[in-house]
Symmetry: C2
Subunit: 318 residues, 2 copies
C-alpha cells in the first residue's frame, strides 16, 4: 500500500475525495494553481519516487485547461520518478470528434490520445466513451468502465412497474438501448431523427417520430452524454405525443451546456438521471436532476488494477 | 506561390493580417470556433493538399485554449495532407517553466515542445525566447528571431541623446543588456535584485540597489517579458533614486497580467515599449505604452524560409 498515491486535479475534487475514502488512501498533496497570466503552476508536495500513481481528472469544461493540467501533472510526476502513472478520466472530453465527418476536420479524440501517450501515461481508466472505437486510439491499456449497472440498480429501486420501454434517442443509440433492455427485461423503441435535417433547413419545430410501441408505458431514454438537452427534450416530447405514460432520461455524462438546465427542467421528463463523471457547479443542479456517483465503480477499478500486480493486502492503509 | 498558405488562429488576428499583406498572400479560410461545452471546433475551408502552410498563433492568455487551438489545427492540416506545417509562434508561452527550480516541478516549456513535435510540425518560428536553451527542446528546426533591431531603431529615432545607459533588471538580464549596449554604443547598469528575498520575507518595500553609473543619464531597462510590471516599476524607481534623468522600459512580450497597466502607467517610466507578439485588448492600452510591430520581421522570416526551397518568384501572388 505504501507505494500507491492518489492525486486529484481541479475537475473533480469531490469525486476524488470519495474515491480516496473508499480506497482508504488519502489524497496526496499537490498544488495546482495559476500564475497571473493564466499559465498553470503545479508542484507536488510529497515524494512519489517509485510509486504507483493514480491521477483523477476529467476533460470537462474548461476542457483545455483541464487537459493541460493533466498533461503538466503527468510531466511533473514522470520527472519525479513515479513508477506508474495511471490516469483516471471519468469523462473523456472531445470524444465526439472521433472521425472526419467532413473534409479537413481534425480528429481531436485521437489527438488527445496522442498527447496522453506522448506524455507517457501507463494506463487510462475511463467511463462510457462516446464511441468505443476511441479505445483503439491508444496503444497502452485502456480500462473502459460502464455505468449501466448504476442506472439499472437505480431504476429497479424506483419500482417503475413492469411496463417499461427503453428508448434510443437516435439510431446510433440502439446498441446502448438494447443493453439496458436486456438487463431490465424491457422492450425497445427508437426516436427517428430523420427530421433533424428538416428542422435545420426550415428552422421550424418538427415533431419526432417514434418507432416502436410506447403507449401507456414508462419510457426511459438512454444516452451517453446529455449536453444542451435539446435532443433529450425533443425525444421526451415525442414519447409523450405517442402516448407514453411517464418519461425518464438517463445519460452518464452531464455536460449540461448552453440552456440545458432550463430545457431539461421544463421538459416532460420526470427525472434526468446522470452520474458525477463531470462535477456540476451549484447553478447546474435542478430539481429533476438525479446524480449517481461513480465512486464505487472507480474504487473497484483501482483496486483491481493494483491487484493484478498481486499485492492483495493493499487498500487498508489508514 | 500557389502552394503557400497562411492561417491565423485566434491569438493574433491583427498581426496575422499585417503579415499576410506584407507577404502578399491572403489569409486562408478556416473557422475556429467553440461548441457550447467549450470544446474547440475547427474546419479548414479550402484545400491545402501538398501545400506549404504557415500557422500564426501565440501561446498567450488564454494560454491553454490558444495552445489547443494550435495543436488541433495542426492535426487537421496534417490529415488534410499539408506538405509542410510551419508554426509561427510570436510568443512562446510557458517559456519561464524551463527547468526544475524545485523538486517535483514540471518542465512545461519542454512539454510544449514535445506536444508540437508529436503533432508533427515541420518547423517553429518564434521571437525572443525567455531562455535560448528552449531551442534545444526541439529536434526540428527552430528559427529564433530577435526583436532587438526594432527597438534600437525606435530608440535612435527618439533622439534620446548620447548619454544612455542600458539597464538589466536582474542579473539574468545582463546578456541582453550587453547586446543592446553594443548596438547603441551605451554603457551598462544592473539592478541588484538581492533584495527580492528580503522583500518577500518582510513584506516591506525595500528599494533596489543599482550597480553602475546612471546619474543624469537616460536609462533604458531591457527585458524579454513584461508581465505584472512589478519588477519593471521597481527598477525604474531605483534608477530614479540613483539619479537617472529619464527612464524607458523595453520588453518584447507584453503579457501585462494582474495590475500591470496601472503599475506601469503610474511608474517613473517615460514610455513602456513593447511589440505585438501578444495582441493586446483595448483595455490594456495606456498612454505610456508604445507598440512596435513584428510584422516585417516575420514576413522576412517566412520569405527566407520559403526561398531556402529555392522558389524565388513566390511572394507576388495576387
Ligand atoms: N463538443 C461538442 N458539442 C457538440 N457537438 C459536437 C461536439 N463535438 C463534436 N460534435 C459534433 O457531434 C457530431 C458527432 O456526434 P455523434 O454523431 O453523436 O458521434 C459531429 O457532427 C460533431 O461535429
Ligand atoms: N507564467 C509565469 N508567471 C510568473 N512567474 C512564472 C511563470 N512561469 C514561471 N514562473 C516563475 O518564474 C521563474 C523563472 O523565471 P526566470 O528566473 O526569469 O527564468 C520561476 O521561479 C518560475 O516559477
Amino acid at each position: 500500500a505504501d507505494n500507491v498515491r492518489l492525486f486529484s486535479l481541479n475537475s473533480n475534487p469531490k469525486l476524488a475525495e470519495q474515491i480516496s475514502q473508499r480506497v482508504g488512501i488519502p489524497l496526496s498533496k499537490a498544488s495546482i494553481s495559476h500564475f497571473a497570466d493564466g499559465e498553470i503552476k503545479i508542484t507536488i508536495d510529497e515524494s512519489i519516487r517509485g510509486c504507483e500513481v493514480y491521477v483523477i481528472q476529467s476533460v470537462s469544461d474548461p476542457v483545455n485547461t483541464n487537459l493541460m493540467e493533466l498533461l503538466i501533472m503527468v510531466d511533473a510526476l514522470r520527472r519525479a520518478s513515479a513508477a506508474k502513472i495511471n490516469v483516471v478520466m471519468p469523462y473523456y472530453g472531445y470524444a465526439r470528434q472521433d472521425r472526419k465527418a467532413r473534409s479537413r476536420e481534425p480528429i481531436t479524440a485521437k489527438l488527445i490520445a496522442n498527447l496522453l501517450e506522448m506524455d507517457q501515461i501507463s494506463r487510462l481508466v475511463t467511463i462510457d466513451l462516446h464511441a468505443p472505437q476511441v479505445q483503439g486510439f491508444f496503444d497502452i491499456p485502456v480500462d473502459h468502465l460502464q455505468a449501466t449497472s448504476l442506472f439499472t440498480k437505480y431504476i429497479e429501486e424506483q419500482n417503475l412497474g413492469d411496463d417499461i420501454v427503453v428508448v434510443a434517442p437516435d439510431h446510433a443509440g440502439v446498441n446502448l438501448a438494447r443493453k439496458y433492455a436486456e438487463r431490465i427485461k424491457a422492450s425497445i423503441a427508437i426516436i427517428d431523427n430523420r427530421n433533424d435535417e428538416v428542422r435545420e433547413r426550415t428552422e421550424q419545430e418538427v415533431p419526432e417520430y417514434v418507432i416502436g410501441d410506447v403507449k401507456g408505458k414508462t419510457a426511459i431514454i438512454v444516452d451517453d452524454i446529455v449536453d444542451t438537452g435539446v435532443r433529450m427534450n425533443l425525444s421526451a416530447q415525442a414519447l409523450k405525443n405517442f402516448g407514453a405514460a411517464k418519461v425518464y432520461g438517463i445519460a452518464t455524462h452531464a455536460v449540461l451546456s448552453a440552456d440545458a438546465v432550463n430545457t431539461l427542467q421544463n421538459s416532460p421528463l420526470e427525472k434526468m438521471i446522470v452520474t458525477d463523471t463531470i462535477q456540476l457547479p451549484k447553478e447546474k443542479e435542478f430539481s429533476k436532476l438525479v446524480q449517481l456517483s461513480v465512486d464505487d465503480l472507480l474504487k473497484e477499478a483501482i483496486v483491481r488494477i493494483h491487484n493484478n500486480q498481486s499485492i492483495d493486502t493493499l487498500f487498508n492503509r489508514k
